[in-house]
Symmetry: C2
Subunit: 111 residues, 2 copies
DNA sequence: TTTTCATATGATCATTTATTCATATGTTTA
DNA sequence: TAAACATATGAATAAATGATCATATGAAAA
């Protein structure tokens, strides 16, 4: 059940070239954000302009609560930021990384 | 509970600029691949060179079965390919998209 | 200050998912 | 052909996750 005829030196090599457990975990956590249709829709909606929670809920035709829960998750990853204007809270993309990352993935799918 | 003082025209605008339901779903499905530590480790291990299932299991210190199940999922997304050499099956990255996509995400985390 | 509106959040439930175990498939070697 | 090896796969289980409902918070308007 061990690796076959391969010198274990090669396995050690690959092993120690891996990023740290924490780095790998953080990366996976970040990608989890994109790995859900609802969150993907929210991010795409924000491509256009900043939107408040109500508007996002309207655009996705989902409940305010569901959107709010998802926004909380997305916010943790620092992919979006928000600002308050009275009782309304506007969300927007934090930077261009979102577009770039999604763009790369979209490219893969086109082939 | 509807969007506040915002003309619904803006909501319609954003709505119809969204990619199709299927495109959004496929994108999310692709990102799900990266959204798990084990699969992330497998992909990183394959950055170096092609590896057989046994080797990957050794590198990640996990069971052959667990790795095989995950490879099946990754293979569906066409991110990896494989070739058979006798009883050994070698897996490798299908193209450079994996590196690019992960690279972009890693950049986001570095800030 | 009471009401209303926009958003956030805790609990719950149903679904999805990752691993394990047992076993099947397919290839090589004795 | 039988035994050994590498990989794949189905069933089962525990843990994670997303939506809903009810309710809390916080700000503006009446």
């Amino acid at each position: 059940m061990n690796a076959p005829n391969v010198p274990s030196a090669r396995i050690d090599q690959v092993m120690c070239d891996l990023p740290s457990e924490k780095q790998l975990f953080d990366l996976a956590e970040l990608f989890k954000i994109f790995g859900d249709s609802t969150r993907m829709k929210i991010l795409y909606a924000l491509f256009e302009s900043e939107l408040c929670v109500c508007e996002i809920a309207a655009v996705l035709n989902m409940s305010q609560s569901a959107i709010s829960h998802q926004l909380r998750i997305i916010k943790q990853s620092k992919l979006v930021k928000n600002r308050r204007d009275g009782k309304i809270i506007y969300y927007s993309l934090a930077d261009d990384h979102v577009k770039t990352i999604i763009g790369m993935a979209a490219e893969h799918l086109e082939e």
